[in-house]
């Protein structure tokens, strides 16, 4: 059975590192809505490569630092 992966993100952590930036501020700077940022943080929405790159640039991080693949729990038999 193929392993399944979730995408985990560290957006909130990097918003703190970027000077307690609010979701609305981040949204304004990357050209998205606050709802979109919130949905990404909650794992309800995976952004496009373009939006992920814009977020990474604004937060001063790399894509890999912001988004990581995480193997789903209970499905580790490969």
């Amino acid at each position: 059975m193929k392993p399944k992966y979730d995408i985990r993100n560290e957006l909130r952590l990097y918003r703190v590192k970027a000077g307690d930036m609010t979701q609305q501020e981040l949204a304004d700077r990357v050209g998205a809505t606050r709802q979109t940022i919130m949905s990404i943080e909650k794992g309800r929405y995976n952004p496009s490569v373009g939006l992920a790159l814009r977020i990474a640039k604004v937060l001063g991080a790399t894509i890999e630092e912001l988004f990581q693949l995480e193997e789903e729990k209970g499905d580790r038999n490969g």
Partner: protein, 246 residues
């Protein structure tokens, strides 16, 4: 107006206002001529059409994805219903004399599925369920107020009908599973209480029965199922800013 709505976590764009005005105008003007009903269609579908043509760029990628997904859900629901109706009409004994209730039901299902799917994608099940229930409660209040303005005790008694909706909205915000079960149970109760089971009878679409089921029972069932599906944890918390957490 926009600031007032933002208090409830809703920030409609200029496009939403224009589309809403077109829909309201269309509905009002049907009193003059039903030809104006086309304005309702323009209000509902016009913005999406302009976005697909690339002439209106007011949504970000998450909103576009939610709208497209909702459109697909509406296509599936309406398509399935159209096939079911075709099968029913072709069997001969169906009790449907006019085409109008059929078209009307298709439009209602199209609109309802699109709106519900959009709300669920955008807000998540918990907030969608709460919003639907509060809206129901407000409609009941308006309805009872209009019906019994002449008598204060009667107005009070009639308004009590709205209380279960507000109570369910409160429960949906705290205990999602319990609210889910209560919503489905109340849908079953109303389905029986209002005699809506007659949709399976000899005149299935008489007296707007199909529309009532979609617009009244539909939201209760859909919210209940969404809450029970266990996706309630990923909800939009509303207007409250999500503070960064370490």
């Amino acid at each position: 107006m926009a600031r007032f709505l933002a208090r409830f976590g809703w920030r409609p764009t200029r496009t939403t206002f224009v589309a809403g005005a077109l829909i309201a105008l269309g509905v009002v003007l049907t009193g003059v001529s039903w030809g104006f009903f086309f304005l309702v269609g323009l209000g509902m579908l016009g913005p999406g059409l302009l976005r697909e043509l690339g002439w209106l760029k007011d949504q970000d990628e998450f909103q576009r994805q939610a709208a497209r997904r909702a459109g697909y859900h509406a296509f599936l629901a309406t398509g399935l219903l159209a096939f079911a109706l075709m099968a029913l009409l072709r069997t001969g004994e169906h009790g449907i004399k006019e085409p109008e209730p059929v078209v009307s039901l298709l439009l209602v299902v199209l609109w309802f599925t699109w709106v519900l799917s959009s709300l669920l994608a955008y807000w998540g099940p918990r907030r969608t369920a709460r919003t639907i229930l509060v809206t129901f409660g407000i409609f009941w209040l308006i309805f009872s107020a209009a019906d019994s303005l002449h008598s204060l005790p009667m107005l009070f008694m009639q308004s009590l009908v709205a209380v279960p909706f507000f109570a369910l909205a409160y429960v949906a915000g705290r205990w999602t599973r319990i609210a889910g079960v209560l919503l489905i149970a109340s849908a079953a109760f109303f389905f029986y209480y209002f005699g809506l089971y007659e949709i399976f009878g000899s005149a299935p679409l008489a007296i707007g029965r199909g529309e009532v089921i979609v617009l009244f029972i539909g939201p209760l069932v859909a919210s209940g199922v969404a809450l029970l599906s266990g996706r309630g944890g990923n909800d939009d918390p509303g207007e409250r800013e999500q503070g960064p957490s370490q």
